[in-house]
């Protein structure tokens, strides 16, 4: 029993990080993830609840709406207090990198497709872009960054009825970049203020945009404005343009996601959490109602990772925590029960945006986040689930992914830490009293 810790968190996304941080006060924690965190594929927006499960919305105050959620929804399981605690853990961790903590009300952030997304926390870099702001906006796209078509996004925003005029232009990013240059390449050129054909990058970009700028008081760019120093890049652009500058969150690879990943993993390091990635968790050793170890596949052999408490935060169908084939749907590490229609033709509906059953596939948990077996009993006493490995909600339709990960990650990690501490001082365990 060589590799052994108090708490083992399986999964490196927002839920796993929240769980590890919440447990780290009272326990030695190890976090393992199969690959690099997928946060770099995330927009960097952290939603709480944008739409009700029946599609009603956008929701103004997610905390009001939590009371109406159906039984089994992860928010209903952990309760409103855990949702608040999860967000405050996030706020403490990211500090001034993020905005939105001053209110319960959702913010409306324009996306790169020109839709408006209700979200609870947004990067400081997106702050000047809010759709509730009445100031006219110029959106600037780059020829080589085809994921953001600024004129189209502007017309979509108009069609969505935003209270300002949006106008889009497409320009060539200054300097000589290859046609398929990576988003990080632009970001680093701006970070370092590289010399582009004799002009510093930030100045060169401002000069390029200036000639298109009319009366607009704010200018939106695709989210490539710096990796290490986004605030500095924005400040210089604002000074040169005489207008506020904001970023529009983009698809992967996403700079706001990368910056968030860096900040969260820095926090893990500061909290003394041991982090490992590179190998998948593939199974578990169990003894009755306890998990003894998780098996990590290190290239053709399985290595046991022992712990007192375990957190399952491996993600859902996209993150590969929930696996499926033509015969069924299963949870990939502990083989926890996943409720599903017996006939696989009932897993989905015909149209892309229909209300699909598969979108809610995941592990069923009790109010303490213990995964439940098919007959509703607790699977393992020392295992808790968090994030999109849980079933009972459709994070993409509800816009609730970040919040559910924070709330359940916090609750699972806090309970795991308390259980470790409780073994010595009898402390109460989160959720036991609910």
């Amino acid at each position: 029993m060589a590799i052994s810790d108090d708490v083992l968190v399986v999964g490196g996304g927002v839920a796993g990080v929240a769980a590890a941080l919440a447990a780290s006060d009272r326990a030695d924690v190890r976090l393992i993830s199969h690959k690099q965190s997928t946060l770099r594929s995330a927009s960097g927006l952290v939603d709480a609840l944008g739409y009700a499960p029946d599609g009603d919305g956008p929701i103004v105050d997610p905390f009001d709406a939590i009371d109406d959620l159906p039984e089994g929804h992860p928010y209903e399981r952990v309760g409103k207090t855990a949702v608040r605690e999860g967000f405050s853990l996030f706020d403490d961790t990211v500090g001034d990198m993020y905005r939105g903590s001053h209110t319960d009300t959702n913010a409306l952030v324009p996306t790169h497709g020109g839709t408006v997304k209700p979200t609870a926390r947004y990067p400081a870099s997106a702050a000047a872009g809010l759709a509730s702001d009445g100031r006219d906006a110029l959106l600037v796209g780059f020829e080589a960054l085809t994921d953001f078509d600024a004129p189209m996004a502007a017309s979509h925003l108009d069609a969505a009825g935003v209270p300002f005029d949006a106008r889009g232009v497409t320009v060539r990013f200054p300097g000589e970049f290859r046609a398929d240059a990576k988003v990080t390449r632009y970001a680093h050129a701006l970070d370092r203020d590289e010399n582009l054909d004799g002009t510093p990058a930030r100045t060169a970009l401002a000069e390029t945009v200036k000639r298109y700028l009319g009366d607009e008081e704010r200018v939106g760019f695709p989210a490539v404005l710096g990796d290490d120093d986004p605030a500095g890049v924005r400040a210089d652009l604002e000074a040169e343009l005489g207008a506020d500058v904001f970023e529009v969150p983009m698809g992967p690879p996403s700079l706001p996601g990368l910056r968030l990943e860096d900040r969260l993993y820095k926090a893990l390091e500061e909290a003394g959490v041991r982090v490992e990635s590179g190998n998948p968790a593939v199974g578990a050793e169990t003894d009755g109602d306890r998990v003894e170890a998780v098996y990590v596949d290190r290239g053709r052999r399985k290595v046991p990772y022992h712990a007192d408490q375990f957190v399952l935060a491996t993600g859902g169908l996209v993150g590969k925590g929930i696996d499926s084939d033509r015969d069924g749907v299963r949870e990939a590490v502990f083989d926890c029960y996943v409720p599903q229609p017996a006939d696989r033709y009932d897993w989905f509906e015909d149209d892309a945006f229909d209300d699909h059953a598969f979108a809610r596939f995941g592990v069923d948990v009790d109010r303490d986040l213990h995964p439940l077996t098919a007959d509703g009993s607790i699977d393992y006493d020392n295992l808790r689930g968090a994030g999109s490995a849980l079933g009972g909600y459709d994070f993409a339709a509800e816009k609730s992914g970040g919040g559910v990960s924070l709330a359940t990650g916090y609750a699972a990690g806090d309970a795991a830490g308390a259980a470790v501490a409780g073994a010595t001082d009898g402390a109460t365990i989160h959720g036991d009293t609910q």
């Binding site: 060589a2 690959k35 990576k182 680093h188 992967p252 990635s277 590179g278 033509r326 015909d350």
Partner: protein, 428 residues
């Protein structure tokens, strides 16, 4: 039930491509959904705007090659084989396998065998052959290598960067030491390991190998040192797959024989263990190769899994300098990036600081090539800065070429985790 027609039990649409074989890269290519995460992780693409990145070198180039008369793009030779793209891909695309395959094909079919580049790459990737000659007369070899004229010739004639200092050859190789001491000092049919020392700890840093032997004997292991050739890492990186295969045939045969005698295989170099456990079964079909992959470990990893290493270190202290630790990319890909600092944390009297997740930039033979030297140093810049900022004047890493780069960029002496364990556990 949806409106879709009920499936006929006979029809399984997933079968249309027939049975895949292990070397068929099509499923890997189809798994790429072009998120470009690999490209943003590639240390070469980061500093070289002309390099198209791993997504092109892997799945895109593979698809292009389905068409007749398509050559492999020569940019594949700029890939340093750090394999970071493997760890970045959220979809398990076997990127490094695709790169190794493409590079092998490029060298086989498109590279002029009389060109300076080919000859130079062949020499660099067959380091062991030349090291074995040099180590017969290490003092002369070190003297010759240190001569200005040698450096000048190396750069002008061979394209080997004159900026780098040739590694010094030890006056006694690890294997000579092993023979001198009479081989294993512990005999134990129940606990055996076969040591894959690789070329570098044999010819250049035998102290790493000696520490390995002392630490494993301390835990009661019988250490075996089977005959062995290069692990193949530099050959993969240079597309010399035939050379690599020949070396692999020897290694598989010798190491599988040791496994038959109850041993697991341990390596002290993370690129060697990477090669034996991942690249071998990906690239070659040799009898026993899967068995070898399943039984190969990095040395410290092996102890952490099979021994109570934390317990052994509980009251240990070591007379050892504080350390700036760099995790080699190939250690990272085996999930070993945190272990050296974790081990050091348990030892009194030593502080080890992780200098972050940047690549050292040398990537084996890559940074030795004249045309790559500047790129290599640019990639390494972040690591050098972090090493200098850390509270230590000595480096720590498991990879011999990362160690060269660390020494080259900072002037620090660089040690191996096994040497630290030796000082903490064995030396009293």
């Amino acid at each position: 039930m949806s409106d879709a027609e009920s499936p006929d039990d006979e029809f399984e649409p997933v079968q249309v491509f027939g049975d895949e074989t292990e070397m068929d890269l099509r499923p890997g290519s189809d798994d790429c959904y072009k998120c470009s995460t690999c490209d943003t992780n590639c240390p070469v693409a980061e500093v070289d705007d002309d390099f198209p990145g791993p997504k092109f070198q892997g799945p895109e180039q593979w698809r292009l090659k389905r068409k007749e008369d398509r050559d492999i793009d020569d940019s594949v030779m700029k890939c340093s084989n750090c394999m970071r793209c493997d760890g970045a891909c959220p979809s398990n695309v076997p990127l490094s396998q695709m790169h190794n395959t493409a590079r092998g094909e490029y060298v086989d079919e498109q590279m002029d065998k009389l060109s300076r580049e080919y000859v130079r790459n062949r020499i660099l990737s067959n380091y062991r052959f030349f090291a074995s000659i040099a180590s017969k007369m290490p003092r002369v070899a070190n003297f010759v290598a240190g001569l200005g004229v040698t450096t000048w010739l190396g750069e002008k004639v061979m394209g080997i960067s004159g900026e780098r200092e040739m590694p010094e050859f030890a006056t006694q190789t690890f294997r000579e030491w092993w023979e001198d001491r009479g081989g294993a000092q512990v005999s134990n049919p129940d606990k055996r390991v076969a040591y894959f020392h690789g070329c570098y700890s044999n010819y250049n840093t035998p102290e790493v190998g000696k520490s390995m032997v002392r630490v494993f004997e301390h835990f009661g292991y019988e250490v075996m040192v089977p005959p062995q050739r290069c692990s193949g890492t530099p050959m993969f990186a240079n597309g010399m797959l035939d050379d690599a295969r020949r070396a692999a045939e020897t290694n598989v045969e010798e190491l599988v024989a040791a496994i038959g005698e109850g041993a697991d295989v341990v390596a002290s170099c993370t690129s060697c263990s990477m090669s034996l456990r991942q690249e071998y079964p990906e690239l070659f079909d040799i009898h026993g190769i899967e068995d070898l992959a399943a039984h190969t470990y990095e040395a410290v990893e092996y102890l952490r899994i099979h021994e109570d290493l934390d317990g052994a270190l509980e009251d240990a202290d070591a007379d050892f300098p504080d350390l700036a630790y760099h995790a080699p990319c190939h250690a990272r890909n085996q999930g070993l990036e945190g272990q050296a600092v974790e081990v050091a944390d348990r030892i009194d009297g030593v502080e080890a600081t992780d200098v972050g997740d940047s690549c050292s930039g040398i990537s084996g033979t890559y940074g030795w090539k004249e045309e790559n030297y500047d790129t290599s140093m640019k990639i390494g810049e972040e690591m050098f800065e972090h090493m200098e900022a850390a509270d230590a004047e000595t480096g720590l890493t498991e990879c011999p070429t990362c160690a060269m780069q660390m020494e080259h960029g900072t002037g620090y002496d660089v040690r191996h985790t096994l040497e630290l364990l030796d000082a903490a556990i064995v030396e009293e």
